[in-house]
Symmetry: C2
Subunit: 313 residues, 2 copies
């Protein structure tokens, strides 16, 4: 099986370091040339419970080289995994045009659901989405810490020849369990609701995930986002979903959400794919979601500030 | 005329330094003994356009000494001016019980309108409210900078023998103009709307006042607070009021709002007297104000964080 993983942030690196232990044909595409070179030279370092594993046979390439010129030496790709941020998916899909016929299957691992709005434009026969429940932290260009063991849950959007299922079923990764789900929409909806509840508020209020449970005012704020999100997504099992949201907050109580980290680094967030997606769905369905719209404005406004800061500095 | 000013923050100090230039009987009551001593020793320093004026004849007392024991040496007070934070008014009024008969008139200078809910319980014959449009900054216990010249606008709630009018009319303070208004409710409403629009959002988003105009997302957030506040207060001239809010933001564009400063110093804010007051009015009138309620939760939640920080540290 030939794997290509596009995106070498913490999730791309974590996934590469586990998959490369079971396959000899994995190529990790990075945004920056320098990271590709570092990983080729040093190997990919996976740190888990104080044990460092050096994964040597991860081939690398810069994304642009891979997607624009260099794919001629790869005859076909069995499984392409897209592990970039949601707002980078559009560019990746544009770059993929022209080489899509070499790709047998594609798996998307983004937060939110903004990327699902682009699926109609993909001509790869097999399309799947996944949700990564692991904790991972990249400490340098070649080292990733596996900070919390969870699962990679995935599901077909369009099953094709079931290349992904065939690729994943023989894998035996104790610390990186992979689980196939029947229906992709509930899989992404539950993750989307968690992201909508946790990410914007933790970023805006600058608090760890656990604070949303412990502070009664913040809990009230979160429950209002939850109510609106459930209305927009027409969630049936609301009580169960609320338990799930609280459970994720509890289990990740001392974590900073990805959006809080984006705020701290003054960079673009995944808001368009989380609250933005919910607002587009709400508009389509003519549903009023004032709290989600308000939080969306707050995060978008901060992004404007960050961009202006860049120009000034 | 005998003046007593309760509260020696920036507004209490600014007011004392101007009034003391026209009267020989002004007593400034401070929260801390040490500040009272410093001002007695050094004089009150007023800095305006690079000129330092040392105001020597400001008598001082700590609030507790004044209100609880020491008032026996003052036969009567003509004008008592309450310049403490809104959330401190309740305590001051409790401390005043028993000596109210010595006070001929009382003028309140708080932000918001929470203090007006306690007026029914005051037995002083003359009650007035005022709005301070000056910029002032306290740099140490005895120095206040007059950073922006505005006006002190005030109005009777209950006119009594018009002691305040008699006290203020002969004053000629070019850099501290005092203006009497006919109706106290519109006076406080317009200030309340400005405070509701500007303070919570600048604190939560950690921005200067001008950002609420410049950033289109923040402007949209502010306009929603404005709409709800006008509905709750049954504001008639909405367009004119919106112009006023924008004008204040523009003129104070590089200022940090008092609530932002409270956030930076992790101390209690005046939210209860601003959005809290609006929510109590909304409840009385059975008006829905979801955005105001949401912002209120955010600020109250931050105050809980600040208190917990205190206990921990």
């Amino acid at each position: 099986m030939k794997y290509v993983i596009i995106g070498s942030g913490s999730i791309g690196m974590l996934l590469s370091s586990y998959l490369a232990q079971q396959t000899n044909s994995l190529l990790l595409a990075t945004h920056r040339n320098i990271q590709a070179n570092q990983i080729e030279q040093k190997g990919l370092h996976l740190v888990h419970t104080d044990k460092i594993t050096k994964v040597q046979h991860v081939r690398t390439s810069s994304c642009s080289a891979l997607l624009k010129n260099n794919l001629t030496d790869i005859e076909t790709i069995d499984v392409m995994i897209i592990a970039v941020k949601s707002h980078q998916v559009k560019q990746v899909l544009e770059d993929l045009k022209g080489i899509e016929h070499k790709v047998a299957s594609i798996l998307f691992l983004q937060n939110g659901m903004g990327h699902t709005e682009m699926f109609h434009d993909i001509s790869i026969p097999e399309v799947a989405v996944g949700v990564v429940e692991h904790g991972a932290m990249r400490t340098n260009d070649w080292t990733v810490y596996h900070t919390g063991v969870g699962r990679l849950r995935w599901s077909y959007v369009q099953a094709g020849k079931k290349v992904i299922e065939t690729a994943f079923s023989p894998l035996r990764l104790n610390e990186f369990p992979i689980l196939q789900e029947k229906n992709w929409i509930p899989l992404l909806h539950s993750k989307l609701i968690v992201n909508a509840c946790v990410n914007p508020l933790t970023a805006l209020l600058m608090v760890k995930n656990g604070q949303l449970l412990e502070n009664k005012y913040y809990l009230n704020m979160m429950s209002q986002v939850f109510d609106e999100a459930c209305t927009v997504l027409e969630t049936s099992e609301k009580d169960q979903m609320w338990e799930y949201v609280r459970d994720v907050c509890q289990k990740t109580s001392s974590n900073s959400s990805s959006m809080l980290l984006d705020f701290e680094k003054k960079r673009k967030t995944e808001i368009d794919s989380i609250l933005g997606y919910l607002l587009r769905q709400a508009a389509n369905k003519k549903i009023h979601a004032p709290i989600i719209a308000y939080l969306h404005d707050a995060i978008k406004g901060k992004e404007v500030e960050f961009r202006e800061g860049e120009v000034e500095s």
